[in-house]
Symmetry: C2
Subunit: 589 residues, 2 copies
C-alpha cells in the first residue's frame, strides 16, 4: 500500500492485460510518429544538437512511467521549457558549444533534484504562487518569442536575442540576406502544417473517415512535411542552394552522461532551474489533471513532482535536457486510447528505435521544416482571448498578466516570471492587509446585526460593534490595530467596543498580540474590549493565551446578547449614579 | 488641509502655546541627558566614531519633527539598527575606516530613499511581512549578540564576528588578556546601571520623591556613571593602566556630507538597507502607535514612512548614520510630558549644544562605561517570555520565531530576518493553499446545513454539497480543483455538486478559471455544478465572466432551496422514466 503510493506502477501494473496492451501500443505508435520531428525541433530551439531531443524522449519517459500518477501524460521536450533552457544555458555558455550541452545537463539535474526535493518535502503548494493569469501570460509571451525566433530559420538568416527587441532588430537587419529556397520550403511547410491542423480533418471526414481516426491521422502531418521536404532537398540538391539541414545525427542509443559537479555553475543555474522546474510542473500538472478528470481518475500533485523529478534526473544522466509533460502530445496520447503509463514506455522504445535506425534518413531534413513545426505548435499556445476575459473580470489579475507578458517579451523569460509572481503576491498581500470589516448595528425588531452603511440599524453611541470578515493573521494584524483605534478615536462617547468574530476562522500569534495591544490601549482610554460569536476552535486557541484573562470586557456567545446586556449594564450604572445623588434622585437637577 | 497631511507640523504648530512649550522643554531636557551617552555608545556599537552618534541625533530629529505624525516619538541611533549598520558596512569596508563611515552614510541615504519611496507609493503594508514573532525573535537575538559583543569592551580585550559562534570563540581566546582596571570600571558601571534601573526608583520614592519624578531622575543614571568613571580615569590616570577611552571628539556642529554616488556600492548595500529600513520602520511604528493610543491620538503609518525617510536622508547629509524611532527614549519623552514633536526639535538643540561645548569633557570617558550602558539597554530587549507564550499558542508561529532567533544568533542579522520572513510567508501560503471546507448536509427538520463529520444530517448520494469557508484565490484555486475532483471520484452515484459560497468574499481570476475547469470536468463526468448562497459583490463579478452562462447547473439563492429542488427534479425525472416504460409503469419489473 505504502510502496504503491511511491511507485504507482505497482498499482496499475497488477491490472495490466491484453486489451490495455493493445490500446497502449496503438497510442504509443501515434505519439512516437508525432514526437520524432518535435523532439528534434525543440532540441534545436533550445540551442542543442537535434539528437539530444531524441535522448530526452527515452529514459525520462520511462522514469515518469514508473513514478508518475497520470495515466496519459506524455513527458519529453516542450517548447517553453526549451526556450527557458536556451536562456539559462546561454548565460553561461555559447549555444551549440560543449559547455552549453553540459549546462543543459546540469539544468536537467538541478531541475530534477529541485522537483524531487519539493515532492519529498510536499512543497507542491509553492507552485500556487504562479497564478493562472501569470502562467497564461507567460506561455503566450513565450510562444510569441519562440515563433519570432524561428523566423530566422524560415528565412535562412541569422538572428539573436532572447527577448523581442533584439530578436526583431537582428531579424530586420539580416532580412536582405533571405535565402529564397529556404523561404519556399519554410513557407510551404508552415502553410501545409496550418492546413493540416485546420483543414485536413474535415477533408478526411468528408471522405468517409471516422472523426477520431481522421483526427489522429492528421497528427502525422508533420511527418509528411518532414518526408516531403527531405526528399526535395535530396532530389533538387538544395543544400548547394543554401538550404540548411539537420546534418549527420549519431546513430546510437542515449549515451550515459555525468553532469558537471561544479559549485559555481550550479549556483549560476540554480534560480533558472527553479523557475524552469516550477513552470514545467504547473504546465504538466494542469494537463494531467484535465485528462485524469475526463475519466474520473485522480493524480497526486506531490507524487507528480517525484515523477517529473525522476524524469529530469534520467535526462541528466542520459544526454538529455530538461523535460516536462507536454500539452499537445498528452492530449494525442489520451485521444489515441492510452490507458496506462506503459504507453509512455512503448513510446520510449519507439523513439529509441528511431534514434538507432531512422537518424541517417534525417540528415537532409531542412531546418526550415523543423522551424515550421515549432511555429505552428507554439502559435496555438498564444492566447489573446484570455487577456480580454481577465480584463473584464479583474483589473488586479490583468495587471499581473500584463506585467508578465510585457516583461517576458521585452526583457526575457526569467524576469517575466519573476515580475508576474512578484506582482501577484504583492497584490495578494496588499488585499490581505486590508480585509473587509464593517461597523454593524441591530436591525430593528430582529436579532440580526448588519453594516451601518448599508442598512438602517439601531446603534448606541457608547457601544461600537465591528464585524471582521476575515481570519486575523500577521498580514492584517497592523490594519486591525489601526482600524480599531481609528474607530475609537472617532467615537468620543465610547465605553464598549465589541469585535464580532463570526467570520474569523483563525487568529495567529501576531493578531493575538494586536488584540492584546488593542485591549491595553482601549483600557488606557477607558474603553472595554469585548468579543462576540467567537468560533469554537478559535476560542480553544484563545484560552491558551493571556487575552481572555486580561480582557477588559467579556466574551459573548451572541452579538445580540452582548448588545442587549451592555445597554442594560450602562442603564443600571446610570440609575445607581442617580440613586447615590439625592438631588439627582429627586429630579432637582 | 492637503498640505498639513504631508507636513503635520502645520497642524500641531497652530495650537502651540506657552504650556505646551514648557512641557516640551522639560521633556527635551530629560531626553537630551539620556541621549548623550546613548548616542556615543550606539555609534561605537555600529563601528563608527562616537561623534557620529551625536550628529545622527540632531538634524534627523528635526526632519522627523517636521514630517512625522507621532507626538512623542524620539528618533535617533538605536541598538538594533546600529548592529545592522555594522554588519552591512562591514561587508564593504573595515570598521572605523573612512570607507566604513562613507558606507554608513550611503546606508542612511538608501534607507531614507527606500522609506520615502514606500511612503509615497503607500507600500507601508509590506512591513506586515514582518510578523510579531519574527520581530520579537529578531530583537531578542540581536540584543544577545549586541550584549555579547560589548563584553570585549568590558574586559578590555579584542573580539570579532557578527554572529555568536565567532564572537564567543574570539572572546574566549582573548580572555587571558583581560585588563583588570577596565573590568573593574565596566563591571561596576554595569552593576550600577542595573541597580539604577531596578532599585533607584523605589529608593527615591521611599525617600519621599513622587513616583513620576523618581522615575525620570533614574534616567540620569547613565550620566552619573559617565561622570564618575570619567573622573576616575582622570584622577587615577587609568589610561596609563590600559583603560581605553573615547578620546578626542571634534568640537563642532554636524558637518555637511555628500554620500558617495557609487553604483556598485549602492547595489551591494541595497538589500541590507531595505532590511534595515523595514526593521526600523516596524520598531518605530509600534512604539509610536503604543504612545499615540494612550492619548487616543492616531499616527499615519504611510506618513511615518515619510518622516523616518526624511530623518535618514537628513542623517546622510549631516555626517550621521541610519536612525529610527527608539523605544526607551520615546517612552521617556512621553513620560516626561512631551506634547508635540517640538520636544524633539528642542532635544536636537540640546544635543547640538553638547556637540559644541561638552565634547572636550568626554575625551577621558572609558569605553567600558559606554559598553555597560549598551548592555543594560539591550538586555531589556531580550524577551524570553514571549517565546514560551507563542509556543503554547501556535506551533507555526513558534517555528518562525525560533528560525529567526537561531539563524540570527548563529549566522547573522540579515539571514535571520530573511529566514523569519521567508518561513512566515511560506507557512502562511501553505495554510492559504488549503483552506477550510466541509461537506455539509441538512440538519433534519431545519433549513440549516452543517458539516457531515460533526453533525448527524440528511444527505442524498446523488447530491454533494461542499461549503467553502474562505475567499477563493490563486493560492487555493488548485486545492479547490483537487478537493472537488477527489470528492466527486469518491461518490460514484453523484449527479449534482453544489458549492455553497456563503463564506466566499471574493473569487479571483485564477479561482474563476478553476471553477470553469471544474464545471467542464464535471460536465465530462456527467455531474452538474451548482452554486448556492453567492454573496452580492461576488455574483456581480461572476456575471462579467463566462462561468454563469456555461454552468451545467444553476445558481441558487439558498442552499435549502437548491437541495430541495434538486431532489424534486430527480424524482420527477425518475417518474417520467417510469411513465415512459409501460412495464415499469404497471409495476411489472
Amino acid at each position: 500500500m505504502r510502496l504503491s503510493r511511491f511507485l504507482p506502477v505497482l498499482e496499475w501494473g497488477r491490472a495490466y492485460n491484453g486489451t490495455t496492451l493493445t490500446n497502449d501500443l496503438v497510442a504509443a505508435g501515434i505519439v512516437t510518429i508525432m514526437l520524432i520531428p518535435q523532439s528534434l525541433a525543440y532540441a534545436m530551439l533550445a540551442g542543442l544538437p537535434p539528437e539530444i531531443g531524441l535522448y530526452a524522449s527515452i529514459l525520462p519517459i520511462i522514469a515518469y512511467a514508473l513514478f508518475g500518477t497520470s495515466r496519459a501524460l506524455a513527458v519529453g521536450p516542450v517548447a517553453v521549457i526549451s526556450l527557458m533552457t536556451l536562456t539559462a544555458a546561454s548565460s553561461v555558455a555559447v549555444p551549440g558549444s560543449a559547455e552549453f550541452i553540459a549546462a543543459a545537463l546540469v539544468l536537467a539535474l538541478l531541475s530534477g533534484l529541485i522537483l524531487l526535493a519539493m515532492g519529498i518535502l510536499r512543497l507542491g503548494f509553492l507552485a500556487n504562487l504562479l497564478s493562472h493569469p501569470v502562467v497564461s501570460g507567460f506561455i503566450t509571451a513565450s510562444g510569441l518569442i519562440i515563433a519570432t525566433s524561428q523566423l530566422k530559420s524560415i528565412l535562412g538568416i541569422k538572428a539573436s536575442g532572447e527577448a523581442l527587441p533584439e530578436l526583431v532588430s537582428t531579424l530586420a537587419a539580416n532580412l536582405p540576406a533571405t535565402n529564397m529556397p529556404t523561404l519556399i520550403i519554410g513557407g510551404a511547410s508552415t502553410a501545409f502544417l496550418f492546413w493540416v491542423r485546420k483543414g485536413l480533418k474535415p477533408l478526411l471526414v468528408s471522405m468517409g473517415m471516422k472523426p477520431r481516426v481522421a483526427d489522429l491521422s492528421a497528427k502525422a502531418g508533420p511527418i509528411a512535411a518532414v518526408a516531403v521536404s527531405t526528399l526535395s532537398v535530396l532530389l533538387l540538391d538544395l543544400e548547394a542552394a543554401g538550404v540548411k539541414t539537420v546534418g549527420q545525427i549519431p546513430q546510437s542509443l542515449p549515451p550515459l552522461t555525468l553532469p558537471l559537479f561544479d559549485v559555481a555553475l550550479w549556483q549560476q543555474l540554480a534560480i533558472p532551474a527553479l523557475l524552469l522546474s516550477i513552470i514545467g510542473f504547473v504546465e504538466s500538472v494542469s494537463v494531467a489533471q484535465t485528462l485524469a478528470a475526463k475519466k474520473r481518475q485522480r493524480i497526486n500533485p506531490d507524487q507528480e513532482l517525484i515523477g517529473l523529478g525522476a524524469a529530469n534526473v534520467a535526462a541528466a544522466f542520459t544526454g538529455g535536457y530538461p523535460v516536462t509533460g507536454g500539452f499537445a502530445r498528452s492530449v494525442v496520447n489520451f485521444d489515441a486510447g492510452a490507458e496506462t503509463p506503459a504507453a509512455g514506455a512503448f513510446t520510449a522504445i519507439g523513439i529509441a528505435i528511431a534514434a538507432l535506425f531512422l537518424t541517417p534518413y534525417l540528415a537532409s531534413l531542412p531546418i526550415a521544416t523543423l522551424a515550421a513545426t515549432i511555429i505552428v505548435a507554439v502559435l496555438s499556445l498564444v492566447d489573446l482571448k484570455t487577456p480580454r476575459h481577465i480584463w473584464r473580470y479583474s483589473r488586479a489579475d490583468f495587471a499581473a498578466m500584463a506585467a508578465t507578458i510585457l516583461v517576458t517579451l521585452l526583457v526575457g523569460v526569467e524576469p517575466g516570471v519573476i515580475a508576474g509572481v512578484g506582482l501577484s503576491l504583492g497584490l495578494f498581500l496588499w488585499r490581505a492587509s486590508r480585509p473587509h470589516a464593517a461597523v454593524v448595528g441591530r436591525v430593528p425588531g430582529t436579532e440580526h446585526f448588519r453594516n451601518i452603511l448599508r442598512h438602517s440599524v439601531f446603534t448606541d453611541p457608547r457601544i461600537l460593534t465591528i464585524r471582521i470578515d476575515e481570519s486575523l493573521t500577521y498580514l492584517n494584524a497592523r490594519w486591525l490595530e489601526e482600524f480599531v483605534l481609528e474607530q475609537v478615536a472617532e467615537h468620543p462617547q465610547l465605553q464598549h467596543l465589541v469585535l464580532m468574530a463570526s467570520a474569523v476562522n483563525a487568529i495567529d500569534a501576531s493578531a493575538l498580540e494586536s488584540l492584546e495591544a488593542i485591549n491595553h490601549r482601549l483600557g488606557d482610554a477607558g474603553v472595554a474590549l469585548h468579543l462576540s460569536e467567537v468560533k469554537g476552535p478559535v476560542m480553544d486557541a484563545l484560552e491558551r493565551s493571556h487575552l481572555i484573562g486580561d480582557l477588559t470586557g467579556q466574551v459573548w456567545l451572541s452579538q445580540n446578547e452582548a448588545f442587549a446586556q451592555l445597554i442594560e449594564q450602562m442603564q443600571r450604572a446610570e440609575q445607581a449614579e442617580i440613586a447615590r445623588d439625592p438631588l439627582l434622585a429627586r429630579g432637582l437637577i
